[in-house]
Symmetry: C2
Subunit: 164 residues, 2 copies
């Protein structure tokens, strides 16, 4: 396990990775988005060691991404549910999924398909877009230092300018 803490890096991506930047954590979240809720279900589906699973669920609960609460039908059992902060990870989960389907596809077609419940229509690929809704690549976007930017942000942004 990576023990270096990314929370010391004053960067929004590093802050995110400190919470979810580990493969097991992201698969647990994938399963939570599939409405999996119980420790035993996560354990069985992922084949993850129980102490690793306990550790990851505790971290996700401590950071407010999952909420742990007693089950309605059995007060001795607990379930884990995505909070608003956790549900807000949805674009990350979908972009991870879509990239994997584009670059590690199966010969017969997609493993899973996402459809809008209200219409049954497929969900388009998630893209970075401008205010008119047109897709942008990294080359169309400039990163500038923001009012909350410190040394870490400055070190990256200046770098971008140097080689642009």
């Amino acid at each position: 396990m990576q023990k270096k803490t990314f929370s010391d890096i004053d960067c929004a991506i590093a802050q995110t990775l400190e919470q979810i930047g580990d493969g097991w954590t992201l698969l647990i979240l994938r399963n939570a988005f599939h409405r999996m809720r119980h420790f035993d279900q996560f354990q069985e589906n992922l084949g993850i060691p129980t102490n690793t699973l306990s550790n990851r669920l505790k971290k996700l609960t401590d950071s407010g991404i999952l909420e742990r609460r007693a089950c309605a039908h059995d007060r001795r059992a607990y379930e884990y549910r995505l909070t608003d902060k956790g549900l807000d990870l949805y674009p990350i989960i979908v972009t991870l999924f879509q990239w994997g389907e584009r670059w590690y596809s199966r010969p017969n077609g997609p493993r899973m398909e996402l459809k809008e419940k209200a219409t049954g229509l497929p969900i388009p690929e998630v893209k970075v877009r401008n205010q008119d809704g047109n897709p942008l690549s990294a080359r169309d976007v400039q990163v500038i230092i923001g009012p909350g930017g410190g040394e870490d942000a400055t070190n990256l942004v200046k770098f971008q300018k140097k080689t642009a």
Copy 2:
């Protein structure tokens, strides 16, 4: 380090995580999107052990996300550049950034701001959208098994139905 291989899991997210699901790897990619290209620059910026950095760059090169090539101005030196497959990770990098800015913000405002080069306008938050461009939450989306879906996909999709 997580040694379990996610490539054995027949899931697009697991396939993606097998390539990039590690904190150092994602920070290296963040830097590559900032146009960082040289081993020494990655090492200095991240403070990452050189053997770890070598390992991650080799993996990213082997998987075709980065391309390693001799520098134009010094044939003994190498630079690492994002390939098309690597550039296609852009929505993942931006969603990781935006979630971090939303939930781990700085009191003075964003650390960095993304602007469209052509117009100077800020880039809106990346969202999962329907075909009309309206944002969707996870609760608006149904996941169904696709034509390439195997046992792993079936195990997750059935689960979703059970508790929906």
